[in-house]
């Protein structure tokens, strides 16, 4: 009986260790810092050539679609509700070679994943996501999204 329980324990331990190692290794490999434009610019040197998730708002009148190059360019600023006047001036440029997603509107919240080029202050994005439709809910909330994104 004892031997069998030992076997069960050993098998469980191996399985669990395998799981944990796999997850930790992948987390380390894939993890990318989540930053707002101001924080990214402040850490430009360390973040150069690194994958990053940028969270902010689409800067007004910054969006351009180059039909020849199949290229969407825009700037991301701090989320309005978290930014001071000075911070709201600082933006990070984004280049995205895919279709502009739905809900992509000036001032709308956006998440950008990609590699940061500190010299050019630009992210070559592999994923751009706008807030999903269920949402339109900013007015409902009495509190802001301060510090959360």
């Amino acid at each position: 009986m004892k031997q069998r329980r030992l076997k069960v324990f050993a098998a469980s331990l191996i399985l669990l260790s395998g799981f944990v190692i796999l997850v930790l290794a992948m987390t380390k490999k894939e993890s990318m810092r989540e930053l707002t434009p101001v924080k990214l610019i402040a850490n430009a040197e360390t973040m150069d050539n690194q994958n990053v998730q940028l969270v902010g708002a689409i800067s007004e009148e910054s969006t351009a679609w180059d039909a020849e190059e199949f290229k969407l360019t825009f700037a991301v600023r701090e989320l309005e509700k978290t930014a001071t006047k000075i911070e709201s001036i600082e933006t990070v440029n984004v280049i995205y070679n895919k279709l502009k997603p739905d809900n992509f509107i000036d001032g709308g919240n956006v998440f950008v994943e990609g590699k940061y080029d500190a010299k050019q202050n630009v992210i070559i994005a592999n994923k751009v996501t706008t807030k999903c439709a269920s949402k339109y809910e900013e007015a409902e909330s009495a509190k802001t999204t301060e510090g959360s994104s």
Binding site: M1, R4, R5, K7, V8, A11, S12, L15, F19, L22, V23, M26, T27, E30, S31, M32, R33, E34, L35, N51, Q53, V55, W65, A67, E68, F70, N97, K98, L99, K100, P101, D102, N103, I105, N109, F111, E113, K127, T129, T130, K131, C132, A133, S134, K135, Y136, E137, E138, A139, E140, S141, A142, K143, T144, T145, S148, S149
Partner: protein, 725 residues
Amino acid sequence: MDMLVGGIQSIAAELGQAAIFLSIFSALWAIVSLFIGLRVRKPNIIKSGRNAVAATFILISIATGALIFSFVTDDFSMKYVVEVSSAAQPLLYKITALWGRMSGSLLFWLWLLTVGGAIVAWQNRKAADNLADYALIPIAVVQLFFILVVTGWIEGVYNPLDRFPGGQAMVDGQGMNPLLQTPSMAFHPPTLYIGWISLTIPFAYAVAALLSGRIGSDWIHRSRRWMLFSWIVLTIGITLGGNWAYRELGWGGYWAWDPVENASFMPWLLGTAYLHSVMIQEKRNMLKLWNILLITLAFQFTLLGTFITRSGIITSVHAFAQSDIGWYFMGFIIISTAGVIALMAYRWQRLKSANRLESLLSKESAFVLNNWLFVGLTLIILWGTLWPIISEAIQGEKAAVPESFFNKVVIIPGLILLFLTGAGPIISWKKITPNNFQRMFISPLFVGVVGGVVAWLFLIFRAHAKAAAEISAEVTEVATPNFLMRLWDFITFSGQPMPIFSILCVFASVFVLVAIFSEFYRGAKLRAKRQATSFLNGLGLLIQRNKRRYGGYIVHIGIVILYIGIMGSKGYFLLENGRLKLGESMNVGDYQFTMKDSFLDEHDNFIRSGVEFEVRRNGGKPTTMRPSRHYYYTTGQGEQDTIESAIQHQGMNDIYIALGPLPTKEILGGKMSMPEKIDKETVVNLSIYHNPLISVVWIGVAVMVIGGLVAIAEKSITTPRSQTV
């Protein structure tokens, strides 16, 4: 007339408000009277508690009905109606606006919960024991929590029946986001809610078992159909969400491991684990503690989803409004889990298993491994979802993991689970014997290996054909290697990474299908022989006599189909971006797309602008595809344009076209843009996808649901007195 409607609207809103506040007392009454009645064993007090549950249902139905009435009659004196509806909104979307935003969603959630409570009370009104009455206590506690949330006392969440102060009314509403005005989005949220809420009932029965001390299988039998119902509805709900994303968002995919998607998927995983582990308790009187823990976790994860989406601590594409509500949910999760753990400690002795695992190679062990994997997958997904919080706590800086993290970490446990889908049903109880292995495993394993080899060869030829096409396109001089090198190159995919997971997926899928179909074949043959009837009749009788078992096997077949679909659509899709003018063509895979014409037409609440493609496969018969963009311009329709992809099914594969920005002209002094017809000089940007086996994904889910419906058709088993401890 308007005055009359206005008067009725006003009365309805006031009545709804009053009903919500009264329901606080009915829910409290239910909790107290049921608790006291069961404690002192007074049937009249217990009956009063049951009636209070029914009263809560009636009161919340009045409140929900009042809100729906306000939507249908365009009562723009109500804040919630103004925010989610508009006069121009079609009737269907006026009704579905009920769950369009947080306040209404919570009321809808509460109403479904009261429906569940009323059904439990009604079903068990003549029950010989009080287990269901015990279950009504936790149900009423959860109801009370939701009622308090809906009242609007929590900062950031207002009562959905609130009106503007001073009797003000808006001329029109803001309207629902155009992206939500689709049938699949009309049904996706309520299906998910129904799935989540019906998980409350098995959880309540587990608490009832702890409260009453009847820890046997009775509570499992009583809640079996609820659990299966929840599982079926959640399966449909999650798939509807994926299907909506695929059809509406123009990115060619259906699952992106977003925190909100994960929040809906985790309770499903835990519920699936529970559906398996209860069988061990029923057959072998084991895992009693585990089952209660598992159903508690599954229930708590339905609430955790709200915490994740509403607390604002996680960055999600699903940007729901953030408020304190997430933290209220977290508080409730902590308190209710602590309560269940305290009850488990109190009943510790009765929760001990009567039997132990006899061998690592047995059905019991397969079930335990299955449970470990489901729970492990849930924890991995939770880890990835909460990584921004965890990383901030550990490293002091917020970090996130991308979609690829989830794809990589779930693949190995996912493949082991797939293998178990076939191994579980055919392995023997207690301990595998050489006879069992030889009789049940050899053929499926052999055919599985053959399937894997065929997949390997297919993928080799596919990779080489692709490489050859690329080389000929580049017109590169390639040195001719010797035969052995060529052979080595051939079997190792010319140095490219070998698609080992695809091969393993095909191996496991074939193994499972052979194992399951053999089970059907053996059973049907035996039944036909015993009843002296045909094989098909035997098969029918077999399923009819054991719907739960064979329904489960049908679900397993659906799982295999789903895996194959995911493998094809996620692993082998093609994407080409292009820019075309009218009359020009581009090629994707075997298909040629020629942009023939353009169109611009006006609909009730949007203008549609698009192009017409002639599509030919390998120069064959032409078909037409019409991708477009919708421009919503009517006040209250969101005033934006959306991608309307064109999707054409080619057997099990899809070709999918999404258009980029189209020419527009500014109107109203630049305040709004209207589309212009595309002419010969206009460059149209587009993305074309070839999604192999994507229809197989939807078919797989349909088969799973059919299997679930077969299983749910089996009536609950009457528990022998000896097991009801």
